[in-house]
């Protein structure tokens, strides 16, 4: 065995998990465990108490309707990857989820675990920011909701208190037929990406982009929306000049160096991923008539 000893509590309800969180010294919630157990094995973290929330079946499940998508925090990544109703409403989800780790880790890994671990290259937080999702959080004083921008507080730091836990994510899907694409580059399939780019484009039915969202993962301390790129595309027909302007605006992103290479290299990877995602999303938008409601 690799981790140092810890107390193990198997919560039977959200309230029980919250009570255990409040009552224990140095607690950690154990969701899918696909990052936490690796970190325990490596002794990067050594909590005194692990609170296992895998019995909280009320936190697992997907409700997907045109007005609202709700995904419970304990929904397995494999379930999100293969949900047909979600794929129809938000095609970026299956595209991006296929790139999360490997089949074996997606069978265990959860939405809430990935959101709270908040690796800057992780696909699920990038999708949350791309879709302007709302994160639902339970704490000692009840449930509250916060936007993805507020939730993604910093490098591997969710904007919730130590006595709180994520219970669900919600977002309003874009109009049917919107263009959607997610590309990333990793040295090996399943590794954390050097950079990823998610794109949503909604047309006005006449070939013009009415609404655009771009989110870049992996480059900085957190996933980042590319507001200048979205502005460059909105109102255009996705002409080469508009696409170039969006790509050019990547220069405004925070870009850190890592063992893959310096900021210039990683920025260039991000631009290439964005070029691919923009091209696929534009094609999707045109093919499906633009997503006019």
């Amino acid at each position: 065995m690799k981790p140092p000893p810890f107390e193990y509590v198997r919560a039977q309800s959200v309230d029980e998990a919250l009570q255990a969180l409040a009552g224990a010294a140095e607690p950690r919630l154990l969701a899918g465990g696909q990052s936490l157990l690796a970190m325990l094995n490596l002794r990067y973290v050594f909590p005194e108490t692990l609170i296992d929330i895998n019995d909280l079946h009320e936190l697992a499940g997907i409700e997907a309707s045109p007005g609202r998508v709700r995904i419970g925090a304990m929904t397995r990544q494999r379930r999100i990857e293969t949900d047909a109703a979600l794929a129809a409403l938000a095609p970026t989800f299956p595209q991006a989820l296929r790139l999360v780790g490997h089949r074996q880790t997606r069978n265990r890994g959860t939405l809430g675990g990935s959101l709270c671990h908040l690796d800057p290259a992780a696909e699920l937080p990038t999708l949350a920011l791309l879709h302007d999702a709302t994160i639902e959080v339970a704490g000692p004083t009840g449930r509250r909701r916060l936007g993805a921008r507020e939730f993604i507080a910093g490098y591997m730091t969710p904007g919730i208190g130590p006595d709180e836990m994520v219970t669900a994510m919600e977002f309003r899907p874009w109009a049917p037929g919107h263009g959607a694409s997610f590309h990333e580059h990793a040295r090996r399939h399943g590794d954390f990406a050097i950079a990823s780019a998610g794109v949503l484009l909604e047309g006005d039915g006449d070939g013009r982009i009415r609404r655009a969202a771009i989110c870049i993962g992996g480059l900085g301390a957190t996933a980042q929306r590319l507001g200048a790129g979205e502005a460059a595309l909105t109102g255009s027909r996705g002409e080469p000049e508009a696409v170039e302007a969006a790509l050019e605006s990547c220069g405004s992103l925070e870009c850190l160096a890592d063992f893959h290479g310096g900021p210039a290299f990683r920025l260039s990877v991000a631009r290439t991923m964005l070029r691919r995602s923009l091209s696929a999303a534009l094609e999707g938008m045109r093919r499906h008539g633009g997503g006019a409601a």
Partner: protein, 166 residues
């Protein structure tokens, strides 16, 4: 503190007391003596410890034994028949020389077992994607792909008659 766990492993019920920090893979090897499940990296990268829990593949090093309480667990020891006859996938591994040192083999087999249950006739891209989470440092993967495709081809041939009838 010890925790009582019960699980069905390859069809046999087991009950034991474990410390919470024991991984499922260590539990299978040390407590149950099922040493077919191998541990490589112990942080979820290499895939050698892949076993099936309630029918789906998991990393045996990234799941605690206490979490498998009440679960149905399948390991490489369960693939062959009670008489020792190899499963079609194991036969294909042998025929195509899909192993050299054999360290990754249990994980490869369990990963492919999950694939073939869902998709009896996968194409090569599906096989490659399925084993993308299993590292092999001997074979260069080509012989593993050939073994899997041999099983896929056999399955396709066997299904051939009923396909035509439909």
């Amino acid at each position: 503190m010890m925790h009582r766990v019960e699980m069905l492993v390859n069809g046999t019920p087991h009950a034991a007391s474990v410390e919470a920090r024991v991984s499922l893979a260590d539990f299978l090897r040390h407590a149950l003596g099922l040493r077919g499940t191998h541990l490589g990296c112990e942080h979820g990268v290499c895939g050698a410890c892949t076993v099936l829990v309630d029918g789906v593949s998991v990393r045996g090093c990234l799941m605690l034994a206490v979490q498998a309480d009440g679960a149905i667990v399948e390991t490489v020891e369960g693939l062959a028949g009670p008489d020792g006859r190899l499963s079609p996938l194991q036969e294909a591994f042998s025929a195509e020389h899909a192993l050299q040192c054999g360290y990754c083999t249990p994980g490869m087999l369990m990963t492919l077992e999950e694939l073939f249950r869902e998709t009896p006739t996968p194409d090569e891209a599906e096989v490659r994607e399925a084993i993308s989470g299993n590292l092999c440092r001997c074979t260069g993967y080509q012989s593993i792909i050939r073994a899997a495709m041999r099983v896929a081809d056999d399955n396709r041939r066997r299904a051939g008659g009923s396909d035509g009838a439909a």
